[in-house]
């Protein structure tokens, strides 16, 4: 018994000085990064911008009593640092921040327009290698302009703009891309990456007092006098050729892209009324499903794309009788045409303007013709440009909301 006790004491005395808590980091030694932005400098360096949460602003029990009254206090601190690599910049940043840069809770990763044109591989590798970063679930996007400006924005509803941008990406119109999706798109030869594009758009007066905006139009010394509020908006899609940004898709083309990638989960389509073309009818998408079928005869490649939509008619400016099956069919037809047009415009842009397959047709081809694929995989984008793509939309409107015909039609 005594022997055991002595041994235990020795073991404890050996372990505890050693157990110097290497990995231990108290919460108040952390600079919690919520968003990261990567830009490039003309010299080829990297500018890392991080949005760090200011815990004081999130109201502890006594914090709320002291600071709760201060509406619109800055919740975050946005700070930038130049460096040769992201890791390098992080190290320098720590000398500004005095706390450990803590990545695990980063929600978004914003890539600047310039660095995207130069190639994003050099910007993103850090995020998949560091075990600190939850690489799989971070949302990635491309900023129009500088990434740091995006991080400098404020959200009117969420506590931080990082969180609001995260939910914009998730729910908004645009391909939601997590880091893992991006790596899969980068790794696959049958598809080129697309990322959502966000930019700051002016949207009137800031709603809270003392909110200083940093928007592209305002110079540094004018920041405080700015009265316009810039809101982060998802405006389309950035198209990549391998890891380099080659162009953009606008709103409608983005819709087409989502249709072709079978990523439509929600949204609406507005089409002209069959009887009064200047009046509009809106269809709410309840379910979208796209099937891509590749064909190959040894020479030519073509694809049949069938886009199926289940929707609900939720708004009608015109006054035709919806109970008339023919009119109903005409509305469905119009909707299908609109979908097809969206998709076609996206395909045309991808084919002729940028020359890249961003839809994953290559993957679909690979799945069906695994023997022909090895010969084609390295020049797939050329094969894609030469391929015919037949698009067909099939629309079923299952519901018309709570009423059948317009009540005010008579």
């Amino acid at each position: 018994m005594i022997k055991k006790t002595i041994c235990l004491l020795v073991i404890i005395s050996l372990i505890f000085p050693l157990g110097g808590c290497w990995s231990r980091r108290e919460l108040n030694e952390l600079a919690i990064v919520l968003a990261a932005g990567v830009d490039s400098t003309p010299e080829g360096n990297i500018v890392l911008t991080v949005q760090i949460a200011r815990p004081n602003a999130f109201g502890g029990s006594q914090g709320s009593q002291q600071t709760g009254g201060k509406v619109g206090q800055n919740n975050v601190w946005v700070v930038s640092q130049e460096g040769e690599t992201v890791q390098d910049a992080t190290r320098y940043l720590e000398s500004k921040v005095f706390r450990h840069i803590y990545w695990s809770h980063a929600v978004i990763l914003v890539l600047g327009e310039q660095i995207s044109k130069e190639g994003i591989r050099k910007a993103i590798n850090f995020f998949s290698r560091s075990p600190d970063v939850r690489d799989q679930t971070i949302w990635v996007m491309v900023a129009r302009g500088q990434a740091r400006d995006i991080l400098n924005s404020h959200s009117q509803l969420e506590t931080t703009s990082a969180q609001s941008i995260g939910s914009i990406i998730q729910k908004g119109v645009g391909p939601p891309v997590m880091y893992k999706d991006l790596s899969m798109m980068l790794a696959s030869k049958g598809v080129n990456p697309v990322l959502p594009r966000i930019e700051l758009t002016l949207s009137g007066i800031p709603q809270g007092p003392e909110l200083y905006e940093n928007i592209p139009e305002a110079q540094n010394d004018q920041q405080q006098s700015t009265t316009t509020h810039a809101e982060v908006t998802l405006t389309g899609t950035a198209v990549f050729n391998d890891d380099r940004l080659v162009g953009w898709l606008d709103y409608h083309e983005t819709r087409g892209l989502l249709w072709l990638k079978n990523q439509i989960t929600r949204g609406e389509i507005t089409v002209p009324s069959p009887t009064e073309p200047d009046k509009k009818i809106s269809i709410d998408i309840t379910r979208g499903n796209t099937q891509v079928e590749p064909f190959y005869d040894g020479q030519n490649i073509w694809f049949d794309v069938l886009m199926g939509l289940n929707g609900a008619l939720l708004e009608q400016q015109s006054k035709e009788e919806l109970t008339d099956p023919q009119i109903f069919a005409a509305i469905e037809k119009n909707t299908a045409l609109s979908m097809e047009a969206n998709a076609r415009s996206a395909i045309e842009k991808a084919k002729y303007d940028y020359g890249v397959d961003i839809f994953g047709f290559g993957e679909a081809f690979h799945r069906k013709y695994k023997d022909a694929w090895p010969a084609l995989e390295d020049k797939w984008d050329e094969a894609f440009i030469g391929a015919d793509i037949n698009i067909k939309g099939e629309v079923t409107i299952r519901r018309t909301g709570l009423i059948t015909n317009r009540m005010s039609s008579k």
Binding site: K3, I6, C7, V10, I11, L14, L18
Partner: protein, 72 residues
């Protein structure tokens, strides 16, 4: 680093040897001592930075063709 290791060995000896001696298990004691000396030699030389040949490397050389076939 060598000091804690030696302390650890002392603890191990303290834990096992008295019991073995009192039970007169000499054969066990010899085996214990032999294994402990091997362990001590390995760990102290390793801590002192002496390169100990990695057994896995020799295994790899032994099975070279197969390893190459597999890692193609």
């Amino acid at each position: 680093m060598v000091f804690p290791i030696i302390m650890a060995f002392l603890v191990i000896i303290l834990l096992e040897v008295p019991g073995l001696v009192s039970k007169k298990m000499w054969r066990e004691l010899t085996a214990f001592a032999a294994l402990l000396i091997i362990g001590m030699a390995l760990s102290i030389t390793h801590t002192l930075g002496v390169m100990i040949p990695n057994p896995n490397k020799y295994i790899e050389i032994l099975f070279k063709p197969l390893v190459e076939w597999l890692s193609k």
